[in-house]
């Protein structure tokens, strides 16, 4: 049978990445607390190696062998897993990471440290890494006659071996004559039916080697006395000497074992560890397909519900209750399916212990990392895409936020700083906080810089929040020295952009000498958006709730023309651009309103720009399933996706950043948007 092993490669490599993370975190725990679940660490390495060898990743298997050997010795207490040893193991983790990544990307690995690291591992083991003893003894060839005795111990059946099976297998090696010796069978009273009292003698005419014969008894060498003797070479094959081997079972004396077991048992009961869950691996496109289908089901159900509401309720009482019940099941099904895509945020957090350690060491700072809410679940895609922004924030916190130990002591703080990562739910959102107990943001310094860069006007007053938001502007960096850890202030703007592209936002709280807290708010999933359905002309659009500050019915004269075709709206004394959605989108107007007082102005904000978006009507909030328009069309400016409404029609989901960009470009309003922010802020942060 020929089986293509490559079909298992992807599963193996994904698994290897997970095992590697476990290995790494275990080593970090070991380094930090001097205590860790060594069995789990060993198991992770062991799994990587076992799979690698099986699936043909020889370089990974060979390299992991060294790691495993060191860990095995550590586990057996024959080697002290000191800080130096752990450091080498962590280096090895990096090498392995590159080997695995290279295999995933189907390229050649570029791990420069590989050979040096391998040598270091070998050195740790002293006498060199035990190599796999795979040298196969070459037995004698040629046609020959053997005498074989097979005296099983009485309890041989208790290991699941069937002596008759073994004898049949032996018979298949050649021509066999078999004699059974029943003399040791006890009397009927003494006979234990589960035991075996027979023994056998066989003469075998075979071309196989003595080793091949021993292989037949491979599993019972400890439970039987076996002799194999070549008595005659039948053909002309040179026969050096008769070979005789006697194998007798030895008593098992591995006294270390029970202790190991006990220790393993204790280590495993780590209270903070989440209970193990059984997993199956499913291709993401299968899950996405499910999500699509259930979206269809929700839509179809809405149609059924709509139609059935027109049917006389008295005549069909069952119809209405069934439709309602179906609504319940459909919703439950949708929630259950969405939950498939959810993963605990620990998948994103797990990279940080190592990163914090390395970064802190590099900068000569002492930092401990604490995580909260590791099991908070959110959409897999969100987790994948939030990892980089989080990394940047944590790195920044250590680089800029946290002081060197001396400075901390001078301020009466412990030398060791704490960086916290916390995840929790709030409403329909997931909140992720990155906190440090460092020096905090320096408001005056930020203001000075913002004024220099033309972001802030002198003489104006700014709220704290506004000042802190300056750090998200491209090219804004207050670090006195550019370090190779955080770079030159590129990043914070990217951080914010990435978070916004996930439909989230980021805010800052900070206190001098107390620390800084970055608070990220993210939607639970990317597949669903909370939106306000609005009508503009003949079309219905969805505006993400996240962007809506408030909705106002304009009064006569509240909207003023500026210049040729720009309009502004007076909102409690401050003017903001008034943008008509139908004009930005250039769609047919239908019976859409042209007079501001006939429609609704939604005050919306994106990227700290605020506009009044003029639409005809608000139709109500709803959760919509996001569908791609790029599958069959192309990206549309001002539109982030589409959804299907209850009546089966397509509705576009509005991307406000795109709308504002387009409105600015086309000069649909000329009102100042950026510099004159001070007036707007008198409004504070009123949110619908």
């Amino acid at each position: 049978m020929s089986i293509d092993m490559s079909q298992f490669h992807q599963t193996y490599l994904e698994e290897a990445v997970e095992n590697l993370a476990e290995l790494e975190n275990g080593l970090l725990a070991l380094e930090r607390d001097g205590n860790a679940d060594l069995n789990a660490i060993f198991r992770a390495a062991h799994s990587i190696k076992g799979g690698a060898a099986t699936f043909g990743f020889q370089d990974i298997a060979d390299f992991t062998h060294g790691v495993e050997t060191v860990l095995d010795k550590g586990r057996d207490l024959t080697l002290d897993l000191s800080a130096e040893v752990t450091a080498v193991l962590l280096r090895a983790v990096d090498v392995l990471g590159e080997l695995i990544t290279a295999a995933r990307e189907n390229r050649k690995a570029t791990a420069n440290d590989r050979l040096a690291c391998q040598q270091a591992l070998t050195d740790i083991c002293g006498d060199g890494t035990p190599k796999a003893a795979s040298a196969r003894k070459e037995g004698t060839g040629g046609h020959k006659m053997m005498n074989i005795t097979f005296k099983p111990h009485p309890d041989l059946p208790k290991t699941g071996s069937d002596p008759l099976n073994i004898l049949r297998e032996l018979g298949r090696l050649g021509e066999m004559t078999l004699t059974a010796f029943p003399e040791s069978v006890p009397t009927l009273e003494e006979l234990e039916v589960e035991n075996l009292f027979l023994w056998w003698e066989a003469t075998l005419e075979t071309e196989h080697t003595v080793d091949d014969v021993h292989d037949v008894f491979l599993f019972v060498t400890d439970e039987a006395e076996i002799t194999v003797q070549v008595v005659a070479a039948i053909d002309a094959a040179p026969q050096a000497q008769p070979v005789e081997q006697t194998l007798v079972a030895e008593p098992m004396t591995d006294r270390r074992a029970p202790e190991n077991e006990r220790r393993a048992g204790n280590d495993r009961r780590q209270p903070e560890k989440a209970p193990e869950t059984a997993f199956i691996r499913v291709a993401t496109d299968k899950v996405d397909n499910l999500i699509n289908l259930v979206g269809e089901l929700v839509t179809t159900h809405a149609m059924v519900s709509q139609h059935s509401s027109r049917v006389d309720a008295d005549g069909h009482p069952m119809l209405h209750s069934s439709v309602q019940e179906m609504a319940h099941h459909t919703r439950t099904l949708q929630e259950a399916i969405m939950a498939i895509r959810m993963m605990p945020i620990s998948f994103a957090f797990s990279r940080f212990p190592r990163m914090v350690r390395d970064t802190a060491t590099k900068l000569g700072k002492q930092v401990s990392l604490v995580t909260h809410g590791d099991q908070t679940e959110l959409d897999k895609t969100v987790i994948e895409r939030i990892a980089d922004p989080l990394t940047h924030l944590v790195r920044n916190a250590i680089d800029h936020g946290i002081e060197i130990p001396e400075e901390r002591k001078a301020h009466g703080k412990p030398a060791e700083a704490t960086v916290e990562l916390a995840a929790y739910y709030r409403g329909g959102n997931v909140m992720i906080e990155v906190r440090d107990d460092g020096r905090g943001l320096d408001r005056d310094k930020l203001m000075k810089k913002a004024t220099e860069k033309g972001l802030a006007q002198e003489g104006e007053t700014y709220t704290d929040e506004q000042v802190y938001q300056f750090i998200f502007h491209p090219g804004f960096s207050t670090a006195a020295q550019v370090t190779d850890v955080s770079g030159r202030g590129v990043g914070m703007d990217i951080v914010r952009k990435n978070i916004q592209s996930l439909g989230g936002n980021i805010s800052i709280e900070t206190e001098k000498h107390k620390g800084t807290r970055f608070i990220i708010s993210l939607p639970l999933t990317l597949a669903i958006v909370d939106g306000m359905a609005i009508r503009s002309g003949d079309e219905v659009y969805i505006v993400p709730i996240l962007n809506i500050m408030e909705s106002i019915k304009p009064t006569k004269g509240q909207v003023k023309t500026v210049g040729h075709n720009a309009e502004v709206m007076d909102i409690r004394g401050s003017y903001i651009p008034f943008v008509r959605l139908s004009e930005v989108f250039k769609t047919e107007m239908g019976d859409g309103s042209t007079r501001p007082e006939d429609g609704i102005a939604m005050i919306v904000e994106s990227d700290h720009e605020r506009i009044a978006l003029f639409v005809d009507e608000l139709l109500g909030e709803r959760q919509v399933v996001i569908k791609s328009i790029e599958a069959n069309y192309r990206a549309i400016e001002g539109v982030s996706g589409a959804t299907i409404l209850g009546d089966g029609r397509v509705s576009f989901i509005i991307d406000l950043a795109g709308i504002i960009k387009r409105a600015n470009r086309e000069g649909l309003h000329h009102a100042p948007v950026k510099p004159n922010k001070s007036k707007m802020t008198e409004e504070g942060h009123h949110v619908v």
């Binding site: 789990a40 099986t54 095995d72 599993f219 439970e223």
Partner: protein
């Protein structure tokens, strides 16, 4: 009726390969990803011709699983093969002590796997 084999391994990729290979060879396969689940499956399925188990697993390791299985009347004489690595000589002995029938040395390929299985449960 094809013979049922229980495969217990915490590595999904190994389990996948083992299951695929065995199914191709006409066996029925039941899976578990650690020892305690393996024991549960063994109890609930009952008619199992062979158990294939890894040794290093969370929750209940392979040795414990073998010992527990041997306590069950239905598994008293059932062949149990353990997956082990070449360096695990002592593990092999421990395994035999616990009641394992034999072992399969990792790494192994599908052909080797089937060969060993046919050794303990001839077709």
């Amino acid at each position: 009726m094809s013979k049922t084999i229980l495969t217990v391994d915490d590595s999904a990729s190994i389990r996948q390969m083992v299951t695929f290979t065995l199914k191709q060879a006409g066996y029925t396969v039941v899976e578990a990803d650690d020892g305690s689940k393996g024991l549960e499956v063994a109890k609930s399925v009952g008619d199992i011709a062979l158990v294939l188990t890894d040794l290093n697993m969370p929750n209940m390791n392979g040795l414990e699983l073998i010992r527990n299985l041997r306590q069950l009347p239905a598994f008293k004489f059932t062949p149990i093969l353990m997956l082990t690595t070449e360096s695990d000589e002592t593990k092999k002995m421990e395994g035999k002590q616990a009641g394992a029938t034999g072992w399969i040395v990792k790494p192994f390929n599908p052909e080797q796997l089937l060969k060993v299985i046919e050794k303990v449960i001839p077709a």
